[in-house]
Symmetry: C2
């Protein structure tokens, strides 16, 4: 009939986010109900609304925090373009392998965002892509990269790298360091001048 023993806001809040993340990633935003999330948290559905204004905000906050973290976690080193690219690629692989669920949601649930929320997320994503494109442009100007179109190359590289989350499984045939090295090898060759 009311509050259970030992339950507190600073526990339920994070648990809500974790449950929403896991369930959204597993079944998709539209296929997950607030009641399912509540059950995972160990609470009735109504209680969730003490921690989020609505289901949409739950999704948006996860995506925004993820992309802001991604942007905050890496800045191009002061170095030649090839080293900047290596830094970007290796960080991208590491970061994405560490957060498969968040990455999955951020790429799959864009169409479930309200238009206003979509614009925000889209902007953050573009910021990230722009960073890679800037590296490619500098490198091309310096003659170390051979890319006919930096925008296309940016999209191609990011798609290739992000794809690692679709097949990599912890404890599989290849370890993280190897995966990181092999992706860097392919990325480097794909854009390097002959």
């Amino acid at each position: 009939m009311a509050r259970k023993q030992g339950s507190h806001a600073d526990i339920t809040g994070p648990r809500l986010r974790e449950a929403a993340l896991r369930l959204f990633a597993r079944h998709g935003f539209a296929a997950v109900s607030m009641r399912q999330i509540a059950a995972e948290v160990g609470v009735q559905a109504g209680a969730l609304y003490l921690y989020t204004p609505d289901k949409q905000a739950l999704l948006f906050d996860l995506m925004r925090d993820h992309l802001e973290d991604l942007l905050a976690d890496w800045a191009p080193p002061e170095a030649p373009p090839l080293m900047q690219l290596e830094s970007f690629v290796r960080h991208h692989i590491r970061y994405h392998l560490d957060r498969p669920d968040l990455v999955f949601i951020a790429y799959m649930e864009l169409r479930n965002l309200d238009p206003a929320n979509f614009a925000v997320i889209e902007g953050l994503r573009r910021d990230y892509e722009t960073r890679l494109e800037a590296i490619l442009r500098r490198g091309r100007a310096a003659g170390v990269f051979d890319v006919a179109d930096t925008k296309l190359a940016t999209m191609a590289l990011i798609a290739m790298l992000t794809g690692v989350t679709t097949w990599y499984r912890e404890g599989g045939r290849l370890d993280r360091a190897t995966v990181e090295a092999l992706y860097w090898d392919m990325a480097r060759k794909a854009v390097a001048a002959a």
Copy 2:
């Protein structure tokens, strides 16, 4: 109260598939209702069940037909590995640019498939990936490709190529032939021996 003038099964059937395809691609399988699809077709929801056993079959048939078409539409030419790879890459880009909605669904709605249906689709996808991997293996054996791990390279290439559907828009800055050529250029360099 009943059948409208000029309506026939051989019209409604295809229209149902087209409507489902468009709506699933736009809003996601879980977010689209049978009533929405029926409205798009211009029919009441109940009538849809003359053409599909249920909503799940609608999704599965779209995905299976797409992947079977993809597999039927291309076979490796009898040629050196490098030419086989070029054929694969160019076909992949062309095929995917021609069917953005089907490609989108086939990659995004996997988790909405029943386990049995998922296994079928997964198998077809693996068949397709295996074709690319076979090319890479032959090329590596012949010394024309430098890939440390053919499975990883397969996944990386397919992810890079399929990603074209996320940004390419008809009538945009680059035409199809250019896009195809640039992706082939990057793919070739990514796996080519030095």
